[in-house]
Subunit: 264 residues, 3 copies
């Protein structure tokens, strides 16, 4: 079970400390991720030039690497950033978007994991299953599998890598290989708004900057996502207003009142 | 005249089959195109790395190439993707954004047409006129011409290339060089929301994946665009809420009820 | 004090002349900047390929260079565009996003200033202070300093470079090194919407294309930003709807009525 007191402390700390959260993310997600980070009180920075990765990571409080729009040059930036995160001891989150859809994606994700040990790996079921070694058929960047299908693989992946693994889906699972926590909030319409998974990864980065453990950071980020998703889904009139209401819900997030809405 | 029964079948099939629609598109349009595709029931994937084009196109159901943000590296990805679309027999849509505004754009669009024969070419009047050989003065990415000005050129372009040509404007024209169909839906405020043309191309791709003919795919996509535009324009309070209402209208699109609103 | 009559003339001219405003900007800001430009009546064009910069700048009415997402290739495009702006006598605006956060950003901004003399430099306090030679500690792309801290540096920077300098913040300062004007409109929630600074730069570009002086262009753009921000802040329910209401306010901007709301 989530420690509600610690959840409130982490939410308050994101607003108070405003962690500089450096995202190397895909171009689809950039604006919504920046807005989601601002809405919860963090300070986003989007940059991928290899030349400035060392300096940017050094002044940042967390790094998020999302492989949604890969190219040679971005991969170079990702590696330089991950290297710097290890060097400066900054927590970093890997979002292996579309792992399984191409060798380039699968291999890039695996290399980042092996060489620079992400603090948290956050993906959908298909992506986590691919990284855990399953030979599943990928369908682009959306998952073909339910999050529970990926739980065993996630536990194994966490145990081998030392990363916390966070699977998003109708039920979210967060595991460090030993413990497993679930978040049952959220609404199917969230899957009709692009980059919601990427946003979960961005928030996980912000929480990792202030939380006392990566496991709690991943858990609290998914709790915020799910509760804000519930609130927004109840107010929206379709997938367009869902995106707007979701950011409104994040910016109005009241950890004291909203903590009661977490379903586990 | 549009076959309303077939229109409803195509709309239902987009939701049922959720075609994986691979877009190489400009960075302005990426988020809205992903959201528009999700809203009509398709599954978007945005990628342009040449290294993964063959694999991504192979698992996709349609490809959309939009030359809005050209650079050397993206052009390499576009060519690899078009090559793969031909190889795997996948329908593909070309959006020649800004053709006429620079030699790079005009020549890239013409090369893609000549070498890899798009299933559908969808552009505004100025772009289609440039591709059809007119020496018009381009003004950036917005059209200086009305869609009717481009109809003769569109018919000739379709006849020569074998592509269906779809011109968006106050009246949309869809032609295969022989037949011409029109859609008269839509509202001027749509031109105040960026990437609406790009969105039309993205939806054309999704419809091309499920439709029995490219001509119907292009026609049905423009019908959905126009009707959703009408619905959204009646509800919005300005250009910002227009974008939100438009995605809401797509996600709430009821082919049974909305088909009656199509004006031809 | 702002000349309200001239303000109304400039606002009307943006709608009437619809200046083609070419933006080389970061991927976070592209969509919102394009929508903001469309909303005030301008015509946006987003392009950065070095190969087409000469042609694109030649047909454009203004250029905006925003260094938010730098990489080698984009820098090459920026230099080619600035070169063309000088060659064709087009006004151009520099937004030195994150200057001070990395050497790459600081040096690129300084080189663009020294070599191609921007018409207007628009940044937040920290960025302007860095360019004016202060050794301040940068925190990413958000400002650590209040705009008044940067005023002396801005005046010196303007006097040395010949550029108008526009600092955004709770109070906006616009100076040509001799005159200083202020705009006190706007609301803190604007800082919770990403790319608002970038949008100010984009609008400054559009106004520079129609205004009788760069100083008035910068001033009038900040007045529109601030008043639209006030209007949107009064209507929004959070940071998400703030972004939507802001574009609505721009598209409904009534220079006659809204000019009265300007606070100086």
């Amino acid at each position: 079970m989530i420690d509600l007191n610690q959840f409130k402390i982490d939410c308050a700390n994101v607003r108070k400390q405003s962690p500089l959260t450096h995202c190397i993310t895909n171009y689809v997600a950039m604006e919504i991720n920046a807005n989601a980070l601002l809405a919860i009180g963090a300070s986003p920075l989007m940059s991928f030039a290899p030349e400035e990765m060392d300096e940017i990571v050094r002044i940042s409080n967390a790094l998020v690497i999302n492989i949604g729009c890969l190219d040679r040059h971005e991969i170079e930036g990702m590696k330089a950033a991950a290297e710097a995160a290890v060097k400066y001891g900054k927590p970093w989150v890997l979002d292996p978007v579309g792992a399984g859809a191409s060798r380039l994606r699968t291999e890039t994700a695996l290399e980042l994991i092996k060489e620079w040990h992400p603090t948290v790996i956050r993906g959908n079921a298909s992506e986590i299953m691919v990284l855990a070694g399953s030979s599943i058929v990928s369908k682009g960047v959306d998952s073909n599998n339910s999050s529970s299908d990926a739980l065993d693989g996630a536990k194994a992946l966490a145990a081998i890598t030392g990363s916390v693994v966070s699977i998003s889906g109708a039920t979210d699972y967060i595991t460090d290989g030993y413990r497993v926590e679930t978040i049952c909030n959220g609404h199917p319409i969230m899957s009709k708004v692009t980059a919601m998974g990427c946003t979960a990864s961005a928030l996980t980065g912000a929480f990792a900057a202030v939380s006392r453990s990566p496991f709690e950071a991943a858990l609290h980020a998914m709790a915020v996502m799910g509760v804000a998703g519930d609130i927004a889904a109840a107010k929206c009139k379709g997938a367009g207003s869902m995106g707007v209401e979701f950011i409104d819900a994040l910016s109005n997030f009241d950890a004291e009142a909203n903590a009661k809405l977490i379903r586990q």
